[in-house]
């Protein structure tokens, strides 16, 4: 739930080749029910989303730090973060 400016810096520091989407008001975070209690932050989750938005794989917490399993679950690899 960082603002766009912070994410832009983060993306360039990581030299990340995928998109970062700012969600400062937590709208998408709410849609996925990932709001942390009290603090304005999202829980760490990765969703592998296939055709017709069907979820192929979900990882959370420390399992979601290393993206290699999520990438392995992709028939075609594309990445984006929000």
């Amino acid at each position: 739930m960082d603002d766009a400016e912070t994410l832009k810096k983060f993306k360039s520091e990581l030299k990340a080749p995928y998109s970062f989407v700012a969600d400062p008001e937590g709208k998408i975070v709410s849609q996925y029910d990932l709001k942390m209690p009290v603090v304005a932050m999202a829980k760490r989750y990765s969703f592998v989303v296939g055709p017709d938005r069907k979820i192929i794989k979900v990882q959370s917490g420390s399992d979601a730090v290393d993206p290699s399993e999520a990438i392995a679950a992709c028939p075609v690899t594309k990445k984006k973060e929000g």
Binding site: A4, K11, M41, A42, R53, C74
Partner: protein, 57 residues
């Protein structure tokens, strides 16, 4: 508030495998609008949420 907390505990709405991922449209850091339902037409998408930029992990 209490009811909200209780229903949150009883019914977790975090999507799981097999569910349809909630659609969203948002601007990326280049100002480009991205929509999940459009992106999945080009291939599988990993939607990753993290607590805060510049934190470990």
């Amino acid at each position: 508030m209490l009811m909200g907390l209780l229903s949150g505990l009883l019914v977790s709405a975090v999507p799981s495998a097999g569910d349809v991922a909630p659609d969203f449209t948002a601007k990326d850091t280049d100002g480009k609008s991205v929509t999940l339902s459009q992106m999945v037409k080009d291939g599988t998408v990993i939607v990753a949420f993290f607590p805060k930029a510049f934190t470990g992990g």
